[in-house]
């Protein structure tokens, strides 16, 4: 069990800097999810912690040991790969035992650990099979088993669920979470899937273009997104963004409608509101010309355009609704659910 700290981490490929001064303190036993679109550098960051990529500058600590120059094998970590990377010519048992054998564990110790891990993951029956005789979900478990037999200080997961079908993914997600809770091992999990990120992580690090956009708990990210990027990335359907102008504690939208805010700032800004926070209100300040309604069962997604404007808006309202295309609906938003962003810096404007 260990803390992990990333200090001013930079990664270059040739002359291109792909990770820019990443900082992070991960607590002992914490489940950290690194999330971001593809190419944002999240896998690179994970692989740097694993020791599979070199560190250009900055430092990585596992516990109180600086590991920059340690071989992956000497960092006391275990990793679960996207394609599992099981050794195809070894049985499940041999796969799990390989790392222990190289570390010169005794035969009986290896057997005991493999049995333990197999019991936890319920794969005792497959121990003598080879990976290609297993289903996707079983392989996933073996990959996990290979990680836990070693009893490492840190688990690293590189999009481990992306090769599974949707149903299995939800099931394995729960199992990973439970397992991590039970073992209490500090874990870093990389994914591009925001639902996976929100459900798994104690804290989330949102990466975009090699920069840390925000690092906090899922609720933090949802309620107080630090930038337009985070606001749009977390939550589904995405937050609505309405350009406007801040003045005198109001934001004036492109169609001239004014919404009262608590902000005292002035200038061009973006007004953000999540679809699920739009409340139908005849007298509401946001008037929307509807276009299409999607019935999702529990709620209805109303797609439309800001009246006299061109910004598209989505609202999610409870229950079944159907509006004629072209009808005008008024919406209100509680002040707590307002998000204001600076137009230039894209950063959140505090109220």
């Amino acid at each position: 069990m260990a803390t992990i700290s990333l200090k001013d981490l930079v990664k270059n490929y040739g002359k291109v800097e792909v990770l820019h001064h990443v900082e992070g303190e991960f607590h002992d036993g914490e489940f950290i999810v690194i999330v971001g679109p593809s190419g944002c550098g999240k896998s690179t960051l994970l692989r740097m912690v694993a020791g599979l990529e070199t560190v250009t500058s900055g430092e990585i600590f596992i516990g109180d040991k600086m590991v920059n120059n340690l071989e992956p094998a000497d960092r006391d970590i275990a990793m679960v790969f996207q394609n599992y990377a099981l050794y195809p010519h070894m049985t499940v048992r041999e796969n799990m035992a390989y790392g222990l054998k190289l570390r010169k564990f005794s035969k009986s110790d290896i057997e005991r650990r493999v049995q333990e891990a197999a019991t936890i993951l319920e794969i005792q029956d497959y121990l003598d099979r080879r990976p290609r005789q297993l289903s996707g979900g079983q392989r996933q478990r073996v990959a996990m088993g290979r990680a836990i037999v070693r009893d490492p200080q840190v688990f690293l997961f590189d999009e481990p669920l992306s090769n599974l079908d949707a149903k299995l993914r939800v099931q394995m997600r729960l199992e990973i979470k439970k397992l991590q809770r039970k073992l209490g091992v500090t874990s870093i999990y990389v994914t591009h899937d925001q639902v996976e990120a929100m459900t798994l992580g104690d804290r989330l690090m949102v990466l975009n273009g090699g920069y840390v956009e925000q690092f906090g708990t899922p609720i933090d990210l949802y309620e107080k997104p630090a930038s337009i990027f985070v606001a749009g990335f977390i939550g589904s359907p995405s937050m609505n963004f309405l350009p406007g102008h801040l003045a005198n504690a109001h934001i004036e939208l492109e169609n001239g409608q004014k919404i009262p805010t608590t902000s005292v700032q002035q200038g061009d800004a973006i007004f953000g509101v999540r679809p699920e926070h739009m409340i139908v209100d005849e007298n509401g300040p946001i008037e929307v010309v509807t276009d299409l309604c999607e019935q999702l069962g529990a709620n209805t997604l109303v797609h439309g355009v800001l009246k006299d404007g061109k910004t598209g808006i989505v609202a999610s309202i409870q229950g079944h609704w159907d509006y004629e295309p072209g009808s005008v609906l008024g919406f209100n938003v509680l002040p707590d659910n307002h998000h204001l962003f600076d137009k230039e810096t894209q950063k959140r404007l505090e109220n």
């Binding site: 694993a50 992956p72 094998a73 990793m79 390989y98 790392g99 190289l102 570390r103």
Partner: protein, 283 residues
Amino acid sequence: MVENRPILKIVTHLILIFGIVIVALPIWITFVASTHDEARMLQAPLPLLPGGHFFENFTKTLFGSGLAGSEVAPVWRMLLNSMAMAMMISIGKIIISLLSAFAIVYFKFPFRMGFFWLIFITLMLPVEVRILPTFEVVANLGMLNSYWGLSIPLIASATATFMFRQVFLTIPDEMLESARIDGAKPMRFFFDILLPLSRTNIAALFVILFIYGWNQYLWPLLITTDTDMTTIVMSIKQMLEAAEQSPQWNIIMMTALLAMIPPVFVVIAMQKMFVKGLTETDK
């Protein structure tokens, strides 16, 4: 077959059988010749059906001094030489190609690409086109009339290195990453992961190289002057020359049969491997 026309089916099989007859005819005639006695083999027309002297010819060829009046080593000795040469060439090639492909794919080191091109160039230099100077080198190194001289100059092979490189490149990167996290050092990774994963390719390549080695002709012809080092494939030519004075076709064809049995056996017994190796090495 898409349509089900019986006549077409029959024609198809007939043509294939005709093809097989054409392809197999020379071998059949060789076999027939090896089953008759010397006298029968001097009367035209020669027989088209086997006679009863197969085992007699067999023992005479294998353990006798071969052809009467020619100074060659006994056939069993030649078979042994051929086997040694073929094994040394195929195993040697496989080992050095595996090692160099491993270095080129899995290591970053100075002149890596330089080495790669140096190996690649040998693809363009078959032994036939540099035969004289290569012979001189081997002579200067005192390797004439030795197994080393027979095999080592034929061992370096760009094709095998390429094939293993190709195989290694298709092995997922995560194998190495996972092995490194498991604590495997380079050679451990090579023996524990890489070798087992390339097993079928090694076997396939072995078939091709064994045949290549066994069938070498020009090179052994130049390198060996000592009759004790003669290979079976070479001896056929010497026997043909001798045949101009005393034709003992039954013995010559028995020798030819013995010379083709090991490679033919390897091809047929390991057919699957062989087809895979052939279509994947060259492509």
